[in-house]
């Protein structure tokens, strides 16, 4: 194990590391543009120049020592780039000496010569590495008086990616990403010197399933997202951590929102799940459902039409309805889109309060969705969680496939549905329509909410707290990223400034908050109506009970899950080694 010394801090590292890798892994930041931990080294931006020295040796091969017995360091006369220089025993690295600072200032001056500095119209402003370094490493002066270069702007690499040649600093991160990660090698530099620009191969598009990650890794605003373009300034948005519900991978994400509307989704680093990436499907496809077509209030059906009602009324209607049936005439359907907490209480309610064995859930799978990168065929985030909790019928309980038959012969009369995506199956929908009494937990309007007797307005995962278990059996904790009526007291301070400081007179604030609740809370209220005395105050209370009762989750807690970026089932005692997360920029608010 060689040791190296960076600005006087001694760190142990392994010999195959470059200086910047060793530094990043130990939480030391070395300025850079083109280096990215998951891409090959290209060493073209020269921002990472550092002063490097090695211990001097005497003629007999021993180390030269000064009068204090410390090794004498001989520094190289020229600066070296930290991203492609490998460490070696006893290496000394200075990143803050005058020489280095001067070099960094010069690099910045060169980069800014042809940079249009159109930050006011650039989406990257506020989270731009170039802006950040402009503050940190530039002397704020330019000696350039000539006309700036003009290049192509608004070039469409695909429907979702716009390229601005003038803003590009030619770091080649996007080219390397396309080649090495997305495996669609269609980008290349053309021309030379200050005319250099990036072109997509003739007749091609850069429209890979992972292509939009280049927008995140581009250190400047040269690449912008067609989906997001100009929707909001980043400082007006809140970015809260969450988990993608798009498939069973459970990529870690940040939800960027303003005025409680999701505007964009970004990957968040988790080396055990998605590294730095997410797929374009996960980025674009599901967030519309959080913004649009929501069920805002609980509803009950009165004489064929739906009426908004209070929570007490809705719970009472559900209670009166369910009371009429024998336990084995009622079927419960869990949801692989919902958290462990929701499904656990659903199961407890079915088995302990209603005392029925009829409980099951629908599995979803999209053949051909899977690739060898991130996506997997199971398009729900929590199938493994439901299996673990045991959302399944005992010996003589009904399975999900039995429903049509059992309803047709009148053995099944009431259905309690946690999964509002079931509306997409016409046959199921048809048989549900024949049932006498239907309760649905729904966040969005669907065919299912058109036939239900009671519709509980449910929070989407983005407004809930809970856990998912991904296809690799990693339990991951997610917190709310948006406000609902239920979590407003705790979430308010985590939102964007418009949401935080608005009053009812401002048209921009508080327009989009739903009177929805997490499923487990609704189930608790209903169970208490049936005489149970459940007193869960928060999702973590429910999770604590899960960890008590379910062997494979024992020893876990939200705190541990956060600390280790998720824990694998049954391995709460032996978590993966923590890694320091690499972040490309640091200036973004929140």
């Amino acid at each position: 194990m060689p040791h190296i010394v960076i600005d006087g801090t001694r760190i142990e590292t392994s010999p195959d590391k470059t200086i910047i890798q060793a530094a990043t892994e130990n939480g030391i930041n070395i300025s850079h543009f083109c280096w990215h931990p998951e891409l090959s080294v290209s060493g073209n931006c020269r921002m990472c120049l550092v002063e490097i020295g090695l211990p001097k040796r005497l003629a007999d091969g021993s180390f030269d020592k000064d009068s204090d017995g410390k090794p004498v360091i001989g520094f190289f006369p020229k600066l070296q780039i930290a991203c492609s220089t490998q460490v070696s025993e006893g290496m000394h690295i200075n990143t803050k000496t005058d020489k280095v600072i001067k070099a960094q200032e010069s690099v910045m001056e060169f980069l800014l010569i042809n940079h249009p500095l159109d930050c006011p119209i650039c989406d990257e402003a506020g989270q731009c590495k170039l802006q950040e370094y402009e503050y940190r490493h530039s002397n704020g002066q330019s000696r350039f008086e000539e006309e700036k270069n003009h290049k192509e702007k608004r070039v469409k690499w695909s429907n979702e990616i716009f390229y601005d040649g003038e803003r590009c600093i030619s770091c080649s991160r996007c080219i390397r990403f396309a080649r090495e990660v997305a495996k669609q090698d269609v980008l290349a530099f053309v021309n030379r010197g200050d005319k250099v620009t990036i072109k997509v191969s003739e007749g091609k598009e850069f429209n890979n399933d992972y292509s939009m990650n280049v927008i995140d890794i581009c250190p400047v605003g040269a690449l912008t997202s067609g989906d997001f373009r100009f929707s909001s300034r980043v400082w007006d948005m809140s970015f809260n951590d969450s988990i993608c519900p798009g498939c069973a991978r459970g990529c870690n994400i940040k939800i960027g929102s303003r005025a409680n509307k999701v505007l964009r989704v970004e990957p968040r680093n988790n080396m055990f799940v998605n590294k730095y990436w997410m797929c374009d499907y996960g980025r674009l496809s599901w967030y519309e459902n959080i913004n649009e077509c929501r069920i805002n209030e609980p509803q009950i059906r009165v004489n064929g039409s739906y009426e908004d009602c209070s929570w007490d009324q809705a719970v009472d209607a559900a209670y009166q309805g369910l009371k009429k049936y024998q336990p084995n005439e009622i079927m419960f359907i869990g949801s692989a889109y919902s958290s462990n907490e929701d499904n656990f209480l659903l199961k407890k309610f079915a088995k302990k309060i209603i005392k029925t064995n009829n409980i099951d859930f629908q599995k979803y799978s999209k053949d051909g969705f899977e690739d060898n990168k991130l996506k997997v065929n199971d398009t729900t985030p929590n199938t493994n969680g439901l299996t673990e909790i045991g959302v399944a019928p005992d010996q003589n309980g009904y399975k999900i496939n039995d429903i049509a038959k059992k309803i047709a012969v009148g053995q099944l009369k009431a259905v309690y549905i946690l999964d509002d995506s079931l509306g997409q199956f016409p046959e199921l929908l048809e048989s549900f329509a024949k049932a006498e009494f239907i309760i649905v937990h729904a966040s969005n309007k669907s065919k299912l909410t058109e036939i239900a007797n009671v519709v509980f307005a449910t929070s989407t995962f983005a407004e809930c707290e809970g856990t998912f278990v991904n296809f690799e059996k990693r339990v991951q904790h997610f917190k709310p990223a948006l406000i609902s009526n239920e979590n407003i007291s705790t979430m308010g301070a985590k939102m964007d400034r418009l949401e935080k400081f608005g009053s009812h007179n401002d048209r921009w604030s508080l327009r989009n908050i739903h009177n929805s609740r997490q499923s487990w809370r609704i189930i608790m209220q209903l169970a208490n109506k049936f005489g149970a005395a459940w007193t869960y105050k928060s999702s973590s209370n429910v999770f604590d009970e899960i960890t008590d009762q379910i062997q494979s989750l024992s020893g876990m807690s939200y705190k541990l899950l956060d600390e280790y970026q998720g824990l694998v089932l049954g391995k709460a005692g032996s978590p993966d080694k923590k890694v320091i997360a690499y972040q490309s920029y640091t200036m973004k608010p929140n």
Partner: protein
């Protein structure tokens, strides 16, 4: 304990303490002013036309039929009263961004002029308009229709800014 001896009573001279001479002095000013020409304006028949340095309600500059504003949102960020809301969108113009919606809540605005100072495009300036009348809180939220003012009408202010900003 307050050891300060410089109290009101100690500072006054004997004549001042007598009060009457002071009263006479005050009255003399009053009578002198009574016969000078009057400042009072017969508003609203007589209106006041402020100079370029006046900070009336902020307006957006309309130039060649287009707003100068590129919807960068800086005014909205800097505004201490959070009066401004900007929603950007894309255009075919050379500057690819424009404000699809630009609203200033005139009840929030405190006429500080920060928005004008921060604007990189000189697109929002303080006008001479000091007559702000609304019949409801909703009415006080000015949209682009009431904010955009042709550049010709704002020449005084723009000249002022050129000289002093």
């Amino acid at each position: 304990m307050n050891t300060n001896k410089n109290t009101e009573a100690q500072r006054l001279t004997f004549a001042e303490k007598l009060y009457l001479p002071e009263l006479a002095k005050g009255m003399s000013i009053t009578f002198r002013e009574m016969f000078k020409p009057k400042f009072t304006r017969q508003y609203p028949e007589q209106r006041w036309d402020p100079t370029g340095s006046y900070r009336g309600r902020p307006v957006l500059v309309l130039e060649e039929g287009k707003e100068r504003c590129v919807a960068c949102g800086l005014c909205s960020l800097v505004c201490p009263a959070m009066a401004i809301e900007v929603q950007a969108a894309e255009t075919e113009n050379e500057k690819e961004r424009y404000p699809e919606k630009f609203e200033i809540n005139m009840l929030r605005c405190i006429y500080c002029g920060f928005c004008e100072e921060v604007c990189p495009e000189e697109a929002i300036v303080m006008s001479k308009d000091y007559e702000l009348l609304f019949s409801s809180q909703k009415d006080a939220i000015y949209g682009k229709d009431r904010l955009l003012v042709p550049v010709e009408q704002l020449q005084d202010r723009l000249d002022f800014l050129k000289e002093y900003k």
